[in-house]
Structures are given as C-alpha cells and as structure tokens.
C-alpha cells in the first residue's frame, strides 16, 4: 500500500471504525428487547473505548489524508475523547430516567453515537465539505434527541424549535460558505488561507461570507445573539439529552471553530478576533444576568451553559495555543460537572403540582438526601468556579490565556462575571441546605445515576486538587 493510501486510511480510520460500530449498534438495537435496550448504550461505550485505544495518534503526529480533507491528530483525538466521555457519562446516567419516562429505546444511544461521528468529522475536517457533512450529521441527530420524548409536548416543541432555527442557521452558514468558496476558489482550509493571504481578504464578498459563517458557528456554540434557541431546547429536551447537548456539540463546535479560524482564517485574525470578543462579552453578561432571574434549575443551567460558552470564547479570542488548550480542558471538565449536574437533576421528582426542576423542589434536600445534596453542592460550586474544584481550574486556564494575550479587560470582565454567576449556583445550595422542605420530593439516586454523578463528583474533586493529569493531557494538542 502506498504511503499516501496509508496516510488516507489512518486519517479517516477512527471515523470509519466508529461508523462500523454505529451500524453494529443499530443491529444490536433490533436484537434487544425492553430493559435490555440499555445494553446498546453500554456496547456503545465499549466501542468508543476500543476506538479510543486503537486510534490514539502519536504525540505531535499529524495524519492528513484524502487531498487534505481529513486530519487525524492529537487535537481531534482529545476532542474525540471528550465526546466519548460525554457519551459515556450520559449513557451511564440516563437509564433510569429513560425508563421512567418510557423512552428507553436503542435509538437514543445509536443517535448519540452517530452524532459523535458527525462531531469527529467536524473536528478533523480540513475542508468545508467534510465539515458541513459532519455538522449536519451532528445537528440532525441533535434535533432528534431534543424531540426524543415524543409523548411530551415540551420535548416535541424543543425538537421543532431546534430544527427550524438550526436549519436556518446552517442555511446562513452555507450561504456564507458559498461566498467564501466563490471568493477564494476553494473549500479547503489550507487553500482558503492561501487565498486570503494573497489578497482575497480585501474582497468584499469574503467579509460577508465569513461573517455569515461565523454567525453559523456562533449559533452552534450558542453565543449571544445567536443563542436564543438554547434555553428552550435544553429545557424541553430529555434531561440526559440536554446534559449531552450542553457539552458535546458545543465542544465540537468550538473545536471545529478553532481549526477553521486557526488554519483557514489565520490571515484575517483581526476580524474573527474582534467578532468573538464582542460576542464573548455579550454572551457572558447575558447568560449570567438572565440566569440570575431563573426559577427553573434546568433552564438556569441552560443559561449557565450559555455563559460558559462566553468564558470559552475568551480562550478563543486569546489567539494563543494556551487559549485553545484551555478550551479543550474547559470542555473536558465541563463534561464531568455539567453532565453530573444534569444527571442529578434528572433524578429529582416532585410529587407536588410543581415542575420537577423548580428551585422549590430542592428545598431541604440536604436533610432528606444528604448525598444528593452534597453531590449537587459540589457540581454547583464547581460550575461557579470555586477552588478547590475542577471548574476553577478550567476558568483559571482561560484567564491565564487571556492574561498572556494581554486581554486584561476581557479577563476582568470574565472574572467579574464568574463572581456574578456565583449567586445563582449558590441559590440551589441555599435551597438545599438552608431552607426547610416545601414539597414531597423524591430524590432517590438510582444505580446508573449514582455511577455517573459519583464519577462526576470524584473527578471534579480530584481534578481540583491534582489537575496535572488533565492539563498534561491537553498540553500536547496543537492545531
């Protein structure tokens, strides 16, 4: 086999492998019945572990194949691991929830699985075509996940919302792409960069095209003002799905964005730098401020997710490798704490005539359910970024990057925001620890939910104290 062919194979091997596994999952789905459906998910986990083990690239190794269309390197690998983790945690934690809601179906897992294949393509894409296909693979699966609970009006509603708005945003993205393509004469990142260097940047159409594209990205990472879908979708979607959506697609979007801007838009750094610094500020403030006034914890977490996107954008704007390494670390940690939080959230059942996720349901939980409360406390303070919890490490790295890039003002805004954010996370703990119970609430943590939240909590604590492992894990990744 020629080295080129070899290269091609290696560059795309993980995706291929995953696809094969995905198809196997579909078959498995058909073979299993009722309770057994969760097996599908567990197999998925196994497959991912296999893929992760097989396809780990050599440090610094870069496998660019198929006429520079797909790239498999540490960067793609790290993010693949993040997706895999998100998938694993969600799967492990979701069983009871799905069972109670009567939607314990194999599709849930297979669709997640396929969405991850899409994400992998997004991240490793070196060509807009590949990127677009990956994006849509992910997006469409996400629409389905959002509307997965057919019987629940909210779920269906969020599905439709997500779909319409998502489709619209990808329309914008595409339209932008076409202009970029027209102006630069290529879909390939490297060639786009080339063209931009050679003066295409001045071309008026490019600017529109780029802004439209970036807007499309901004939509995926739910950056203000393209964030509007996020709260509704997250709130309506089945809780585990929501947990997954706040983590994996966002990570994917960020990763692909980093790739795109670093490889393709390197010459017009000024443009996207400004673009995202504006959005970062808007996003952080809007997310936190509105989250402050939420009474539904699920929705509050949705807004918090928006604000976290804001922090991560700081890492993007920093335009140094610490920046995107911080983003990777952040999404990694975020996977644990946010999915953990959502899992615990999914456990909560309010017997009163109130939505399960309302703050009142948390009142006095610390007495009835100390373990639940403790777990939630850990996740909340971690999200708030209080040391010695993992969340702090994430924020810290972001600020380090910003300070290194001498974006003092942005760092200050970020810091102030994290102080501002504290309050709404604290409010959950206030209800749990300081208030007396108001409603008959059932918060018994089932086996699978326990596993996820336990892993989450332990990791959050452990990373808080000994972050070296995680940090060195992301230290190698280079675009």
């Amino acid at each position: 086999m020629t080295p080129q062919a070899m290269m091609n194979l290696v560059s795309i091997a993980p995706e291929v492998l995953m696809t094969v596994f995905g198809l196997i999952l579909v078959v498995l789905d058909v073979m299993t019945k009722g309770e057994k459906k969760s097996m599908v998910g567990y197999f998925g986990i196994a497959f991912m572990i296999i893929t992760a083990l097989i396809s780990q690239p050599a440090i610094g190794g870069k496998y660019l194949g198929f006429g520079n269309m797909v790239m498999w390197d540490t960067f793609s690998y790290v993010f693949f691991v993040i997706f895999a983790l998100a998938y694993t945690l969600t799967t492990l934690g979701s069983v009871e929830y799905l069972r109670d809601k009567g939607i314990l179906k194999g599709e849930f897992y297979t669709i997640m699985f396929f969405s991850i294949i899409g994400m992998m393509f997004m991240v490793s894409a070196f060509d807009l075509t590949v990127f677009y296909v990956g994006l849509e693979t992910m997006a469409i699966s996400m629409y389905v996940l959002a509307g997965f609970n057919k019987k629940c009006a909210k779920s269906a509603e969020s599905g439709v919302k997500y779909f319409i708005i998502g489709a619209f945003s990808s329309g914008m993205l595409l339209f932008g792409m076409t202009y970029v393509y027209g102006a630069t004469g290529s879909m390939n990142y490297l060639e786009i960069a080339e063209a931009l260097k050679n003066g295409a940047a001045e071309n008026a159409t490019v600017k529109i095209g780029l802004i439209l594209m970036l807007a499309g990205f901004a939509f995926k990472i739910s950056a203000v003002p393209f964030h509007m879908w996020a709260p509704d979708v997250y709130q309506g979607a089945p809780t585990p799905a929501a947990g997954f959506m706040t983590v994996a697609p966002k990570a994917a979007a960020f990763a692909s964005l980093v790739r795109f801007v670093w490889i393709a838009l390197e010459p017009v750094a000024g443009l996207w730098g400004t673009f995202f610094s504006i959005l970062a500020v808007l996003t952080m403030f809007y997310g936190n401020l509105v989250a402050l006034s939420q009474t539904n914890v699920k929705r509050m977490l949705a807004y918090s997710a928006i604000s976290h996107a804001g922090y991560m954008m700081i890492g993007l704007v920093a335009m140094n490798k610490e920046g995107y390494q911080a983003i990777a670390l952040y999404s990694l940690i975020y996977a644990f704490m946010n999915i953990g939080a959502f899992t615990l959230l999914g456990v909560l059942k309010n017997k009163g005539m109130v939505e399960d996720e309302r703050l009142e349901s948390f009142a006095g939980l610390a007495k009835k359910n100390p373990m639940y409360a403790l777990g939630m406390l850990i996740f909340m303070f971690s999200l708030a970024g209080i040391p010695p919890l993992a969340g702090f490490i994430g924020k810290y790295m972001i600020f380090m990057a910003a300070m290194k890039a001498e974006l003092y003002w942005l760092a200050v805004i970020g810091a102030l925001n994290s102080a501002l954010a504290c309050y709404y996370y604290m409010r959950v703990t206030i209800y749990m620890y300081f208030n007396e119970p108001e409603y008959e609430v059932d918060a018994t943590i089932g086996r699978s939910a326990f596993i996820t939240s336990f892993i989450g909590a332990v990791v959050v604590l452990a990373v808080g104290f000994f972050p070296s492992a995680f940090i060195s894990f992301v230290k190698h990744l280079l675009v």
Binding site: E136, K151, V160, F163
Partner: protein, 100 residues
C-alpha cells in the same frame, strides 16, 4: 449574456425570500419550505461559482447539500408531526410554552 453577478443576485433574492418566509409565515410547514428555498439559493450560488471558477468542487457540494436537505426534511417533518400529535397545531405562534 448572463454574468456571475446575475446568478448571485438571483440567489441573494431567493435567499432573502427564504428568510422572509421563515420570519413572516406562521405555518411550520411553510416555514420549513422557506428554509428549503434558502438551501436552493445556496445551491444556485455554488453552481454559479463552480462554473465561474471552472472546478467541480462546488457542484459536488451541491449533491451533499441536497442529500442533507433530504435528511433534514425527513427528520424535520417527523418532528413536526410529533409536535402536532401533542398539540394539535403547527402554528409557530402557539409553540411558545417555554420562554423567559
């Protein structure tokens, strides 16, 4: 003689019509069709450009877009149906139970 500009203008117009449709119409199906309209505008652009640049990439891309559009249609319509099952309506204004 039709130049690139004509195509671009045309597609721009179609695209705008699409956006307008999404913004104005209240019927989800119609909105969805407007979305498809936007995608077609994209395709016109691609075709025009690939012709202008004399390369295949654009036209290949069109195929992808179409395929994706089809997939989208499938999922989208399914979702709209499940929504209709729940709420007996596909009026965009009535699906605002989650807000604030």
């Amino acid at each position: 003689m039709l130049t690139l500009a004509h195509y671009l203008v045309l597609s721009a117009i179609i695209f705008s019509i699409g956006i307008a449709g999404v913004l104005i119409r209240r019927n989800l199906i119609v909105m969805f069709m407007s979305l498809e309209l936007m995608l077609n505008a994209v395709n016109i652009n691609l075709a025009a450009f690939s012709n202008y640049l004399q390369q295949m990439t654009g036209q290949i891309f069109i195929v992808f877009v179409m395929a994706v559009a089809a997939a989208e249609a499938a999922v989208g319509l399914a979702l709209i149906i499940s929504l209709f099952r729940n709420k007996q309506t596909i009026n965009a204004d009535e699906i605002n139970t989650m807000r604030g």
